[in-house]
Subunit: 349 residues, 2 copies
């Protein structure tokens, strides 16, 4: 079968790899219907994180179950399933606490060890899914093709934007600013609106992304950054800052923007993967009682909550996909996202 | 009148200063019944923060109103009042948001400018209170003398411990660890119990403080620190860490202890004044979804909530005062706290 591998910085190849086989009782084999490229895939693509040896890549996919192991009870052959961007048992203490990304028996797609338990990855024709009962969520069919992009966002970006909003405690009537106009930032706007925010400030300089932000529920656009951006947010929030700021980038600059745009007593919800680990300025947080909450989003636990709104069309996160390519053109998908020619690229095997 | 001044590192003097006079319409003059020394007063005492010129010191006091300005409406001469450790109008946007420490018109006791609006301080015979209506909370009298220590804790340590617990989101049935066995840490135990925590782990090495922690509601004592302390907390919490950890010290080590003792998806509530600004390790927080919330505690807003429980004896935070001295011996009060011979010292003018 075909699958995407990263060999080195800016070296993405679609190659023939062995078909996956069931290796444990709780496994399932999923035939991928759609996969996509994540903003965090760009860190190894850009060489920001090193690639020591070629390995499978991709952690967002939806598909149809082709085979199940003898211990699988909640997923059947033929089911349409959403896979979160990680593997979890959905039963351990951390999963029960809503933090399935810290599952005691779970792991990540596409590890360096190609033979390892979690070595399969999403950007391929098939994926072996360990802990299928815990990891996969079945979508009742039939699934019209136009719903596929929206369902695919539940594997990562929509749940991640939602996590930013939930972590920040967004509630009815709140004033929210969103730092980052990538797919996650745009989904955070959907999430903030869905949770009742009455003012949503999107920080974006890109006309197409601004348009999508407004379509998703943003009430204001702020193009400025740094001190000017903070001043604009304060102007729009009675001089004090936003109740919550959703940080969806992961750089030192974006986190600083978020912290200083938050009102005293407010909260930063952050889901941008911290690139290089910008440390948080505790004195700035302390003096103004600004909290910071979030992290790697436990999207598995959000799928059931968000799925009905995707199926009904109440939210349309699938609109973040502005380019669709065949799997064979995965390298172009990475280049398009790297060069910001596309917000997010959907790949069809 | 007599008041306490800090002249330099380890140089505390009680000196004769001019009696305070009303200077603005919203002022009140309060005759101090009891004041105390705060752990944060030890930073300048120890020279960790520099004292550039002699100035009044002390920010926790209760007393009786002696005079009021023409604009004061909610406080009357003869009222027994609690002063929070800062001045606030209790009407601005930040006060309404529950963050009166960020009051747009407020300020801090004992600034370096002895003639400034907020230059008065608590460790003296009398204090001029700006914005008396917003700052002071009246306690219905008569006030039995044995209630004075408990009421005095509402000016800072009890409200601050409560803020740690509220910021961390402590709720019924939660498992809470408290880092710090000073007066604030001990009050945080009271607060956690009051909010319904079922397991409260006090991290303390001092037998007398351990005894008070247990009396206040701690269910377990952990004497170890660092990796060993974290391992002990995990042993007591099903291997994953505490739901919330209340950080009541403010050093790099204590914050590290707190963050790493929190379970995935849990929250650190922190109120220890960050001494030197230990930066927070964002990657550690991100990977485990551990949030950090808190800051300089807006205790003014908590006084009404906590006061009935102090008056009824349901909580006894006044027990943190294990030494009482006349105001004239303020220097010994500082020394006793610095050398950890006393948890907290009450001063009587």
């Amino acid at each position: 079968m075909l699958a995407t591998l990263i060999h080195a910085e800016r070296d993405i190849r679609v190659e023939t790899v062995p078909d996956p086989v069931l290796s444990t009782g709780p496994d399932a084999i999923v035939k991928v219907v759609a996969a996509c490229v994540c903003g965090s895939d760009l860190w190894p693509y850009r060489g920001v994180t090193p690639t020591r040896e070629p390995h499978r890549i991709g952690h967002e996919f939806v598909g149809v179950v082709e085979e199940i192991g003898p211990d699988v009870a909640h997923v059947a052959v033929g089911d349409f399933v959403i896979a979160p961007f990680y593997v979890c048992d959905n039963t351990c203490a951390n999963c029960r606490n809503g933090v399935s990304t810290s599952c005691l028996g779970g792991g990540w797609w596409g590890g360096n060890d190609r033979q390892g338990a979690f070595a399969d990855a999403g950007q391929g024709e098939r994926v072996r899914v360990p802990l299928a009962d815990g990891t996969l969520v079945v979508v009742p069919g039939p699934i019209p093709d136009e719903l596929v992009p929206g369902l695919l966002t539940l594997s990562d970006v929509m749940g991640t934007g939602h996590h930013a909003a939930v972590s920040a405690g967004v509630a009815e009537g709140d004033t929210v600013a969103v730092v980052g106009d990538g797919a996650v930032g745009l989904c955070a706007i959907i999430a903030a609106k869905r949770l009742g925010a009455s003012t949503i400030i999107a920080m974006s300089r890109h006309p197409e992304r601004q348009a999508l932000a407004l379509a998703f529920g943003a009430t204001h656009i702020v193009e400025e950054r740094g001190d000017e951006g903070i001043a604009r947010v304060r102007e729009l929030t009675g001089g004090i800052g936003a109740d919550q700021v959703l940080e969806c980038v992961g750089t030192k600059e974006s986190m600083d923007q978020a912290i200083r745009s938050t009102r005293p007593g407010g909260m930063v919800g952050y889901v941008g993967v911290p690139n290089g680990g910008p440390e948080l300025p505790v004195r700035t947080l302390f003096d103004r009682n600004v909290g910071v909450n979030g992290g790697v989003a436990p999207v598995r636990g959000y799928i059931e909550e968000l799925l009905p709104d995707v199926l009904s069309g109440a939210i349309e996160p699938g609109r973040v996909f502005d380019l669709e390519l065949p799997l064979s053109e995965a390298a172009e998908a990475y280049a398009a996202m790297d060069e910001r020619r596309a917000i997010k690229v959907l790949l069809r095997p």
